[in-house]
């Protein structure tokens, strides 16, 4: 390898690939060689798609998720119930919520969660944007659907703190035994929490 400060194009490509999650020096080298050796058209497509995506994709003005337009398709749709707002951590969570077909309202994607130990605070995720969005007068109910991890719970707590007493109904999705779950095979932690959060029948 060269000893000077400048990187060759190959070295630069390997370095650039390392920005992907879970890709170390070895994996990056393998990907670079594969693209150059075996799949040059694929490499061109990848480069063009990346360039276009970076240029055109931005945040939806309403839900904070990715879109190419001012509003994403979901937020722009006239069929959605604009009085309900469901808060999720990531676009992947939004896709999952959509697959349930059980929700007809709008979404807000935080693009992260509060994690004190990783130094991620309320300013690093879209909490201030969410506060503005939830208090715009249209929203009557905010459904907090952050993960049931400690970080997701902390995020839910912050959302509660910034929205309570503002005349909005606040709710958290329920947790417990999965659909079709048999108690014998449910993990103990879930069952214990299902007992704590039991409801009258």
């Amino acid at each position: 390898m060269k000893s000077q400060g400048t990187l060759s194009s190959l070295e630069e490509l390997i370095e650039a690939l390392r920005c992907l999650p879970g890709v170390g020096p070895k994996a990056a080298q393998r990907m670079a060689f594969y693209l150059l050796q075996r799949d040059r058209p694929g490499a061109e497509r990848l480069a063009a798609a990346l360039g276009r995506a970076i240029e055109t994709i931005r945040r939806c003005a309403s839900c904070n998720s990715f879109t190419e337009a001012h509003l994403c398709d979901l937020c722009a749709s006239a069929k959605r119930d604009t009085t309900q707002l469901c808060v999720v951590e990531t676009p992947a969570d939004l896709v999952m919520m959509e697959q349930t077909l059980a929700y007809k309202g709008l979404y807000f994607v935080l693009m992260g969660r509060i994690s004190p130990l990783d130094g991620i605070g309320p300013r690093d995720i879209g909490l201030e944007v969410l506060q503005k969005r939830a208090l715009d007068g249209q929203v009557k109910e905010v459904i907090v659907a952050t993960n049931f991890t400690n970080e997701g719970e902390a995020t839910a707590h912050y959302i509660g703190e910034i929205l309570k007493g503002r005349g909005i109904k606040l709710s958290r999705i329920a947790r417990g035994v999965p659909v079709g779950g048999e108690l014998e095979y449910v993990d103990a932690g879930t069952l214990a929490q299902a007992l704590v959060e039991r409801r009258p029948v």
């Binding site: 879970g22 130990l117 130094g119 991620i120 605070g121 300013r123 707590h157 912050y158 703190e161 993990d187």
Partner: protein, 225 residues
């Protein structure tokens, strides 16, 4: 105490154990959708862990949920993050701290049943300093060895201990009553519990040297919103 994503599907687990202190484990495949460990490796939950390996990072072979502490929420959850950050920042790896482990387990149990957080935090901070080898001396003046007078003013030097202050105007001065009630774990009085909080914060900061605690910054941001 905390998990970090590692490679494609694994987790690095920072765990606080009774017999081995703070250890780092790698949980192979724990991030796969159907992994049995997914959901079990949650901070603030008592677990029974088995591992193999001798190096600095061990391989987790089994994690069983012990239960007994309901999931934390709200303010208690934020306080518990603070405890974990203190442990991660201040404890060396693989030093057993059994007394501190018990104190930590008690603190989590008390948080989970909704006890007031300030006394829990002060007791834990005191136990932590003691385990690190800097136990507080709260009943005697360090220079003269005289008993602390509840009505006089003192400053607390992290290396020396309580020193008599000229008056209440001295920087960081606390009233003797604060030191005595901190020693007895009494936090009913608003003034002394306020002073005890500031005192413990400055002592912890001294041990952290220049490092900032993320959890404190995050709480501050919440209050500002």
């Amino acid at each position: 105490m905390h998990t970090y994503p590692y490679k494609e599907t694994s987790l690095l687990v920072d765990a606080f154990t009774k017999a081995s202190g703070r250890i780092t484990l790698v949980a192979r495949s724990a991030r796969r959708p159907r992994s049995a460990m997914r959901g079990t490796l949650m901070a603030f939950q008592p677990l029974s862990l088995s591992w193999v390996g001798r190096g600095e990072v061990k391989t987790l072979t089994k994690a069983e949920w012990l239960g007994g502490i309901s999931l934390l929420r709200g303010e208690a959850l934020l306080c518990a993050f603070y405890l974990n950050e203190l442990l991660i920042r201040l404890l060396a790896r693989e030093d057993a701290h059994e007394a501190l482990f018990d104190r930590y387990a008690d603190a989590l149990r008390q948080f989970s049943v909704g006890e007031a957080s300030a006394p829990i935090l002060r007791r834990f901070e005191k136990a932590l300093l003691k385990e690190l080898g800097y136990a507080l001396v709260l009943d005697r003046e360090a220079f003269t060895g005289e008993q602390i007078d509840p009505a006089r003013y003192y400053t607390y030097d992290p290396e020396k201990g309580a020193l008599a202050a000229r008056d209440s105007e001295t920087e960081h001065a606390v009233i003797g009553r604060t030191l005595l009630s901190l020693a007895r774990d009494e936090f009913d009085d608003i003034r002394t519990s306020h002073e005890a909080r500031a005192l413990m914060r400055s002592l912890i900061n001294h041990r952290l040297e220049a490092r900032q605690l993320n959890s404190r910054r995050v709480f501050r941001e919440l209050l500002e919103l």
